[in-house]
Structure formats: C-alpha cells, structure tokens
Amino acid sequence: MTGTTRHASGETLYPRLEPLLAQVQKPIQYVGGELNAQVKAWDDVAVHWALMYPDAYEVGLPNQGLMILYEVLNERPDALAERTYAVWPDLAGLMREQGVPQFTVDAHRAVGDFDLLGVSFATELGYTNLLEALDLARIPLHALDRDESHPVVVAGGHAAFNPEPIADFVDCAVLGDGEQAVGDITDVVAAWKEQGRPGGRVELLARLARVDGVYVPRFYAVGYGPDGAITAVTRTRDDVPARVGKRTVMDLDEWPYPKTPLVPLAESVHERMSVEIFRGCTRGCRFCQAGMITRPVRERTITGIGSMVDQGLRATGYEEVGLLSLSSADHSEIGQLAKELADRYEGTNTGLSLPSTRVDAFNVTLANELSRNGRRSGLTFAPEGGSERIRRVINKTVSKDDLVRTVTTAYANGWRQVKLYFMCGLPTETDEDVLEIAELAVEVIRAGREASGSKDVRCTVSIGGFVPKPHTPFQWAGQASAETIDHRLRVLRQAINADRRIGRSIGLRYHDGKPGVVEGLLSRGDRRVGRVIERVWREGGRFDGWSEHFSYERWTAAAAEELSAFGVDLDWFTTRERTQDEVLPWDHLDSGLDKEWLWDDWQEALSEEEVADCRWTPCYDCGVCPTNGTEIQIGPTGRSLLPLTVVGR
C-alpha cells in the first residue's frame, strides 16, 4: 500500500476517489447524491456515525433499517450519520493501490474518522465484507487492538442476536430495535467526549455495556469443556449485565421512519418505496428467526400508514409502494387499508403491493384490491413446507386442498404467474415431503388452466435449504447436509419434469446446499468460528452472498484448519443435533423467549403438534412480553383514511 497520505478528520476524499471511479464498474454507486440524502458539517456535531450495510450498494441502499437509523440520527442536532457499503473488488484493488480508505457515499469521508461504525447484518454472509471494510478503513480487525482514535464498531440487525462468531471484530452489538438504542449510544459517546474521554476506550465500552440492549463481548468470557461444548459464559466485570436483553420500540406511530426514503440514481434490488405496517409476528413458524426475535406484534395504525404512504410518495416519486411486514395480510385493518389506499391512488399510476403472503384465499382478495386497475403479473405465497405433515412440524399449517384452491382462485382472478416459496432440509423431512411439492405444482397448474381457461398460467417453485437459527425452536436441530439438500433438489427437479406437458408451465428456482452450510456455521457458531471467518477473508473471501464470489472449498478448508485445534469441526456446528442441557453460544443474549418454552415447542414440532397465534388465542407463555414489559399492540382502530390531494392526480 502506497497510501499513508494523511487527511484532516472529516475531509472529503472525493478528489482522490474520482480518478479511480472512471476505471470501475457502475461508478454511480459510489458517488452518493441520492434524493433525500443528507450531508451535515463535520464540526457542527459532537458524534459522527458511519452506517454500513455490508453488501453491494444495490442491495444495501433499500435496506429499511439503515434508512431509519440514518434519518433518526441526522435529525439530532448533535449527531450526523453517513452511509457506506461494501466496495466491489475492482474498486477495492484501486483503493489499496492508491491509498484511498473506505469512505462514506454521502460526503466521501474516511470511515476511520467517525466515532462509530454501525453495521447492520440481515444475514451472516456479510461477515467477510465487514472484515474487508475494516481493513480498507484501516481500523484494526480485532477490537482489542483498537485505541481511542478508532471508531467503535457496533453490530446490529437480526444476526446480532448471535454475534459470537464476530465477537473479536466488533466492539459491541445492539439487540433488537435500533431507533431508541442509537440515541442512547449517541448520548453516552457525546458525554464521554465532552468529559475529555475519561478512562479511554475501555471506559467508553463499559458505559455502553450499561445501555439497555448493548452487548460488549470483551466483558464476557467463554469457557469450553473437553467435548468442545461451552461450559459457561460469564461476565468479567460486575458493572455489566449478566444477560443482555433486547430493545423493543412500542407505538410505531411515534416512529414514522423513514419519512423521506432515499432514492438512488443507480438501480437497486427494490425499485419501490416500502412502508412497514407492523413489526413482530406471533404466527409461531418454528423456522423463522425474524418472527421469534421481534415479538410482540406492534401494528402501525391505518392512519399512520396512510400518512407515511402519502408523505413518502411525495418525497420520492416512486411508482410503487410495498406494504412491508413479516406477514402483511395479518394486519388487523388490512382489508380496509387495501381498499382505501386503492381508492386514494386510483388513476395515478401508483402501484401497491404486498410481499409474499401466507396461503389464504383472503390474500388473493387483498391482492386483487391492491391491483384493482393495474397489471396482475405475479403473486407470491409461502407455504414453506412441501407436505401437510412437514407444515405441522414447522407450524405453518395449510391443507393441500386449501393451497390448491387459493392458487386456483388467483389464476381465476387474472393472475398469470404464482410463485411458491419452499424450504428443504427441515427437521424430520424425508424425500417424500419434498416430492409432494411436485405433485402440488402439477395440481396447481391443472386446476389453474381449467379455472382461467388458458394454458398461459405459470407456477414458479422457489426453494432453498433450511438453516437452523438461534432463538428459535429449531436452534437444537441438526442441519441437513449439503449433499442431502442437493439430493432432494435433484429428485424434485426430476419429478417436476416427469410430465413435460405440465412441467413446462412450472419453473424451479433453487439454491444449492453449500452456501446454507456456511450460513449455518456462522448462524450457530461461537467465538471460535471467528478464526474461520478471518482466514477466509485473508484468502480472498468476500461477497459470500453472491454465487460468483462464494467459494465453498475456501470455507470448508478454513474451517478444518482453524477448528481442529479446538476438537470441533464444521459438522459439529451444523449437522449435529444439540441436547437440552447444552449451553448455547447465545444463551446470555436474551430475546425474551423462555428457553424452556422453546424446548417444549421443539418437542411439539417433533410430534407434529401445532400452536395457535397468541393475537387471537390465549397467551402460550413464550416469555417475551413479561420479560421485556411489552404487550401486543393491534387494532382495529376504527379510523379510516382521509381523502387527500394526491401526487400525480
């Protein structure tokens, strides 16, 4: 590296970056200047946040979490927030050559100049990109090697509920909703700086460790037994909590963010605006980490949603609004909301959409309403399991007849393409469970052709390998091996293609089993896995979520070499089923879910017993509400949307 060129703190790097941009792919992703982006003066604020989404700009820009925190922080007069994304290898090479460090896209400031670097992990496959960004930013990879001149590296997002594999690389992790937590962290950092940085970095981290929801790994020691399993995780200071709980934002209407969503010039993976209509889910799907760790359900009101849609459209000019949540059709006012939004935007060429929904005829009605006078191209359902039996195991119960009837209704209503999401490798699964997907798809096409009177109907089966996640009833399950997944995908493909007259109307999209195994290692790994991540990065691993960059061989070789000293291996972390008494790496991190309840639910899964949603049936004592002092917040409110003068009318 030639680059030891110094720059003043907060100074723009753009003049040095610009000549490099002429030499790379899609340079627009590095220049910022998005509509609704903000640049504040460096010296006007006490606390500087760099917010990172550890994937390519086109994936990271639409991320709601990052957009929310960006606005919440920039609204504070004493703070600023800028964004940074993973840099593609072509630019990373030039940056190293020319000594240009990791930069923010907003004002092209060096990430190393900021007080904090917040990294949002939606998936564990971003871990190598974290290391790449730290290295490009010239921040020591290991938290223990950092001094007061380096940013505090904060992990957030769903993967932060088990940050142990990256415990060596982050200074802290925030569990749960970030809106209020980032404010508390900003206060702590501002006070510590104002007081002249007493006690240095360790004192700052100790203060942060006392903020609700903040976990500082260095203050916790992990012990291992002769069998390789964890014996205990104990705190090393008595002024930090023994267990760290999660943050929960109550009353979403008080947090209507993002108010002015970012609109990039570059193309992104979501060319639409999103409005989060509720947070949390209590359907109790046993595979779903998001549903488990975001409890309880907190709805935004119909009027709150209406004003966010209106304000967001005015601020962005987007042509489409997605009504986002973990299961949008479950909003208590969804029927009225769909009708009133469709009324409001009729004739304005504004599209409304729901993400994938449960298999339910009502959801077709909803989708019809939202697309009242628009194109009906595709509708997506997520049955997740191929057979009725496996759907009872995962607690996502829908009968085969209902499934076929629902999809047929969609075709009869003019939808031409239905996409069905499935997983394979679920606990207790056999080949037969997966083969039922083929039968189902064939039946759907037959019924669909009949109902629509057209051969022009398509069904796309999208399927990927299941990865057991922490804080779910399946956290004890043995993950299916890559070979098992690939075998089941193969027999499924053969079954679908058995009858070409039907098979040609069925598309099969699948992900092979290998990336899932690595995701499994990173999801349920402990601190020893950090050495694997570091080795993979040193050997060139990055952008592991992209098949053209992912190397399974690099991961398995690194795992074999780095884990053998501990007497464990890749299988130990992935395909091995855990026992009830095993100390799990994340047991000291509290999502509110009672471990005994999770175990009981795991046993009920194995005996194919269902559990009902606590929104409509009595509490089943998962533990979240009493632990966190929270409660379910649902409507209906009885209110309705007021007429507006809308954009483009």
Binding site: P27, I28, Y30, G33, V263, G317, E319, R376, V647
Partner: protein
C-alpha cells in the same frame, strides 16, 4: 379471458416539450438508465401532467435522444416529453430542475413546433471538450496533428458482441488542442456513426498514432449536440422550435 383495464383510455398528448439538461460533477458517473429513472421520478414529484401509454403497465411518454456515455459529463442532453395538459414550458423547466438531484440540471424547455420534425433528426454531431490532466498542451497538439494527418486510425472498441475494429478518424470533423501547463484540453466535433465513436475511442486513436497516454483518466464534457453545418458549427437543435414560437407569438401580436 385476458383482463382489460377498466375505464376510458388514458388522455392523449396535447403538448410536446423538449428539454435540454446537463449532467455535471459526480453525476457524470450516472448511466443513461440511471438518468431515465431519475427523470421519471422527478416528473412525478414535480406533478407534471404526463401523458401515458395505454394498457396495464402504462408508461409516461418520454423519448430520449442519444445519451452521453457513463463517466462523461454533458451540457447538452436532450429529451422530449408528452403532456396530457398544457403547461408553461418555463414553469415545467423550473419545477423539474428543482425536483432533480443537483448535478442533473434542466437548462431549457421549449414547446415542439407542429410539423417541425423530430428532435433526433436535428442531431448528427456533438462537440466535445476533454480535459487531460498531466498532459502538456504541446504533447497533445503534436498528437492531434498526427491524428488529423491520418486517413484512417483503427481502434478496437468494446461492443455488445465483443471487440470490434472501428475507424476513429473518419467521424472526427475537427479537433484542436488548447489548455495550460499540466492540463491539455482537446476540443473536437464528432459525427454520429454506428457504432458510435466516443471520446475514449479518439483517445485510443491518439495513443495509437502518437503514443499519447494520459497518466490519469481524462474528463470529457459534451458541450453541444446538433446538426453539423458546412462551416463546421453544431447548430442548436431547439432553434427551429424557438423560432416557430417567436413567429407564432409575433403573429398573435399582429392580430
């Protein structure tokens, strides 16, 4: 039975506006597709009453004319939009300019004259200005002289179907060197041909004939587009519309 959109067909175009806009600064790295998306969204934010195509996925009536390449800045990009209601061109220009990110600046807006022909027909050449940091003006002058003295300069050009040899000399109507010590400036007028010869191709030609190799990436700006007349001047493609407008207003005044 295929569904049909309910209700009447969308209202027809009643006014065509022609815009000249610039892409400047960091936004020179925006591609044509990036700019097209930004423009469509800005039209919605600015509440310009666009005319739409019919069908289930209606598109606003926008036609783009020969966009500058990604990485090149421009002072002369052109687009034509169809409106479903009449608007004052200057008001549309101001609203749209305010709605677009800084660096995409709407400079002019005129109403298309009836029967005046298409905008694309009024553009067959572009005037470019290319800054070459680290290159001395004398160096560039020698290279340009060698280039102009050649009948044919073949360069390999990356196209959709792989590398293709093109002659970079023939479309260059004129080229001159200027600038100050440490930063030469190349100005040239290049005719539209297929495949297009762009500043990068001319620079590759200068490397071929005179081994001119700029130490850092050149910065190109398209200064004008239009019809190349016999005197070597690139005419303003909005000129005829502006003239028709003035004439029209003049006739009104006379009545």
């Amino acid at each position: 039975m295929a569904r049909q959109p309910e209700g009447p067909p969308p209202p027809p175009t009643v006014q065509k506006l022609r815009l000249r806009y610039a892409k400047r600064g960091p936004l020179r790295f925006a591609s044509h597709r990036d700019l097209a998306r930004a423009l469509e969204r800005a039209l919605r934010r600015a509440q310009v009453p666009m005319a739409f195509s019919a069908g289930f996925s209606p598109h606003p009536k926008i036609s783009y004319v020969g966009a500058a390449p990604t990485g090149a800045a421009s002072e002369a990009e052109y687009v034509e939009i169809g409106l479903a209601e009449r608007r004052d061109p200057e008001a549309v220009r101001a609203a749209l300019d305010a709605s677009l990110p800084p660096g995409v600046d709407v400079l002019e807006c005129v109403e298309a004259a009836e029967g005046g022909g298409s905008l694309a027909d009024r553009i067959d050449a572009a005037r470019w200005r290319v800054e070459l940091p680290g290159v001395e003006p004398e160096e560039l002058a020698a290279a340009v002289a060698a280039f102009l003295a050649s009948d044919v300069v073949t360069v390999a050009k990356r196209t959709k179907n792989g590398l293709k040899d093109v002659d970079a000399r023939e479309p260059v109507a004129s080229a001159a060197s200027a600038g100050t010590a440490g930063c030469a400036i190349l100005t040239m007028v290049v005719r539209q041909v297929t495949p297009a010869v762009r500043p990068d191709d001319v620079l590759a030609a200068l490397a071929a004939v005179a081994d001119l190799r700029p130490p850092s990436p050149p910065r190109a700006v398209r200064e004008a587009q239009g019809r190349l007349d016999d005197s070597g001047i690139v005419a303003d493609p909005l000129g005829p519309d502006r003239a028709a407008r003035t004439r029209c207003q003049g006739e009104h005044a006379a009545v």
